[in-house]
Symmetry: D2
Amino acid sequence: MVKVTVWNENRHEQKDQEVRDVYPEGIHGAIAAFLENEDFEVRTATLDEAEHGLTEEVLNSTDVLLWWGHIAHEEVQDEIVERVKQRVLDGMGLIVLHSGHFSKIFKTLMGTSCDLKWREANEKERIWIVDPSHPIVEGLGEYIELEREEMYGEHFDIPAPDELVMVSWFQGGEVFRSGCTYRRGNGKVFYFRPGHETYPTYYNVEVQKVISNAVKWAKPTNNTKPVYGNAKPLEKLDGMN
Amino acid sequence: MVKVTVWNENRHEQKDQEVRDVYPEGIHGAIAAFLENEDFEVRTATLDEAEHGLTEEVLNSTDVLLWWGHIAHEEVQDEIVERVKQRVLDGMGLIVLHSGHFSKIFKTLMGTSCDLKWREANEKERIWIVDPSHPIVEGLGEYIELEREEMYGEHFDIPAPDELVMVSWFQGGEVFRSGCTYRRGNGKVFYFRPGHETYPTYYNVEVQKVISNAVKWAKPTNNTKPVYGNAKPLEKLDGMN
Amino acid sequence: MVKVTVWNENRHEQKDQEVRDVYPEGIHGAIAAFLENEDFEVRTATLDEAEHGLTEEVLNSTDVLLWWGHIAHEEVQDEIVERVKQRVLDGMGLIVLHSGHFSKIFKTLMGTSCDLKWREANEKERIWIVDPSHPIVEGLGEYIELEREEMYGEHFDIPAPDELVMVSWFQGGEVFRSGCTYRRGNGKVFYFRPGHETYPTYYNVEVQKVISNAVKWAKPTNNTKPVYGNAKPLEKLDGMN
Amino acid sequence: MVKVTVWNENRHEQKDQEVRDVYPEGIHGAIAAFLENEDFEVRTATLDEAEHGLTEEVLNSTDVLLWWGHIAHEEVQDEIVERVKQRVLDGMGLIVLHSGHFSKIFKTLMGTSCDLKWREANEKERIWIVDPSHPIVEGLGEYIELEREEMYGEHFDIPAPDELVMVSWFQGGEVFRSGCTYRRGNGKVFYFRPGHETYPTYYNVEVQKVISNAVKWAKPTNNTKPVYGNAKPLEKLDGMN
């Protein structure tokens, strides 16, 4: 059974009644709720817990970590970011959602600014699937339509994705690479764009389907980890050395 | 349950005692035997059967097709090649083994010559895993060592793989991109290098593990197929048109 | 000096006054005209010439071939397609424009159906640059806006591009991967979406800039061609063979 | 004229007579010497200079930066690393050589550990070209052979390269992805493996050719930089917002 930890900054929910109205159990609560319907073992963790809820013990027993953050990226301690990064390189899957594009963990794994255009204007987003063969889009149609979302526009300053799975169309005239996979070390990373805190995006069953599929896709590959450092020759070096 | 069809040219087995000694049930028989130990439904098909054993009915009920051919690529009818190609574009997985690099189906899906260097000199091959996060290498160590194999060397005239999973070292001084994934339409394609007919390569448990993993990886993604052709606008075009 | 051949089907221009009004010298004439302002040696060739204007001699002295076709793809002889393909694999650059997505040469190099959604509705296209580091977008801004174009929409059934340079937004609600690079053999391939025959797209200076840049990018790499076939070992095989 | 800065840690040269014997003008001196034969404007900079020789002024007038470091990666100030990174994201090319795989600048741009296997055993390296179409291998043959080099072996913990250009074979039984391109922001990055301080690798004319080609490939693309942050809609949002 895949062990999932849903991490949320959980600050909008404490400060803004509007957000609390949409996500009374927090964004993490809403995400955990639909993941529990799958064959996953689901926990949540939030910024204000000790060690942000991401102790060594929690991370070591996490197969896939989901990350939602927005207004408090800077409050995430560098030590915890480093710990999460090591776990990804060691094999843990990581799914970064929406405004998590600017999280320390995503930026450090990407090596770029991860900057983009944005606009809050209640506009329509249509997320087109450009790789229908990918397991992350299992069970979906040709696109996902969200009546109201925040706009994110190109240029999105990320490395070229290993696989580009989805591209968004926005009513205001922009496009965006919305579903991107990366491999880092032994771990798999998926960035998925939608999910502004004032919209009920995480109740959309197709968005939920993408996230559930991504958890399955991102679970660790169980094999012998590579060995690094000084290495003896595997072949005889013929006395020339 | 994933439905697997193992296709083999099955000509060496009929002509060469040496090959029959290694693969008394044919290469297809040896591959089918270890795949049957997995949770797969396994059939075989060979060149000399009617329609090469690849009728519409067989292909339509195949999730993943494995392909081994060598000396009779030209005897495979173009019509059957086209049929297999359409099934791949429609979602069927395809695993091309060893000398299948020169099969019509692989060449037509790649768009290149698929040519390479080769040598039969009983030399050692060491297949290094360069993407340890990939599900195709689940359960493996850092490399697979084959005491005797045919050499295939670069330049291998293929499109850059979507994912490069394995690279071979050969005793005689060459390297080769030995595990390559591609997506074509709704289907997934995996090329895996080892498997010369005079060596017991398909009895190697690590080689078997790669092929079993590849079957799981290549199975079709179950979603709505894209619609092509003339399309009505999804947004109002404001009378300007 | 880069030697460029602009190939055009040149049928719309003969049949439709509307197209002739836009491109009195043919689409090939319009493209050749702006390429001649660069440091290129430019020729044109069309379908109705002997061997479609693509003799061995012409191709052997072509560094980069541009391809525009639409209503007569099937009239292009298979033998000429094969000849062009061999030249690409041998190093010649190929730039496929707009409806050339359905040309025999593009489909055979891609290995997929190259199908897509389309609509002629005089709508706006905005081509966003998603890879600002790429030489093909030298001298451009963040996007190219075309007031009226034919719509092409996803899913575009191509292999994942080696490099995705541009993505289009369409007024009617679709997106499209509009600038895609591929490497095939020793040759480079660029697909560029815009250019419907009834619009003055090839007079747009930014579209011209992309095509000129693409010619420079696609020119052959001058090196020793790989050798294929049976190969002697480069290292001593220690008597074990 | 492309402005090149060759950065070298320059510590082995001060401490080890053996290295000084091979590179009397320092590794930076040897690299600058052959680059000056090209149409480049070449400078050098070293660790022990003020700001490691990488002032804002120097970086702002550098098109392509080469980086060689080994035993003093930790002495490179984080502030300077950040400055170099910003210049890369802004468009400057970066060529990372050999043991620079463990430099702070390469690790921060990659997002992974960049770890590998290594061995100093005077063994043979054969660097195979796997993408003959790439401008970085212009003028080369099928491989570069180095009689004596340090071994670097897989797994090399890097993101999958955007383009894999070269793969090394080592006598002792390993392979390595030796020529790797990446795009980060507006900048291009090339990693090139060979160049251990005790071997005359940078006098090898084919190695020199690769580095010169890489400088040309990595030079900045001159275009409008993307704009990030809050963005007004480009299309009318129909009063719904």
